[in-house]
Assembly symmetry: C2
């Protein structure tokens, strides 16, 4: 999997990321990794569900992993949850 096959989900509208996932598969990717942290985790699941249910009938969810990342902020270190969703053919 190249860096191109990783979609980082943030605060943009869901369909922006869905389009990015669909585009990766249309360009020949076999797998796409959808990543998100914190509140964007819900949106990452939306992206995965919309992409595979509405646009990519031959793609399924291969693996979902969660983790905790430590971020340094102005007020010290803070922990944030993260998710990685692999979708593929």
């Amino acid at each position: 999997m190249t860096d191109d096959n990783i979609i980082y989900v943030g605060n943009k509208p869901v369909m922006n990321y869905v389009l990015a996932v669909v585009t990766q598969f249309n360009n020949g990717a076999d797998e796409v990794l959808i990543k998100a942290r914190g509140r964007a985790i819900s949106r990452a699941v939306d992206v995965e569900q919309i992409a595979i249910n509405r646009f990519l009938s031959d793609v399924t969810t291969k693996k979902i992993e969660t983790s905790t990342e430590s971020l340094s902020t102005e007020t010290g270190n803070t922990n944030v949850s993260a998710i990685e969703i692999i979708v593929g053919k």
Copy 2:
């Protein structure tokens, strides 16, 4: 798994749900299912991560599944993403 072993994550503070998960294991449960829909999905991942990393050293994440549920609202049907996280010993 009985119904008691299912924790539905909603809009309450994260630690309420963490405490519920920890209590289930302390009462002898081998597995707990953490469920959430929509924006609460991010919180469900927080609950899972905090419970296993900070409180339950012998518990790991067994399985994570996502799905889409159809809800009927005043303005018609709407789809919402859902997550199920199984944590166990």
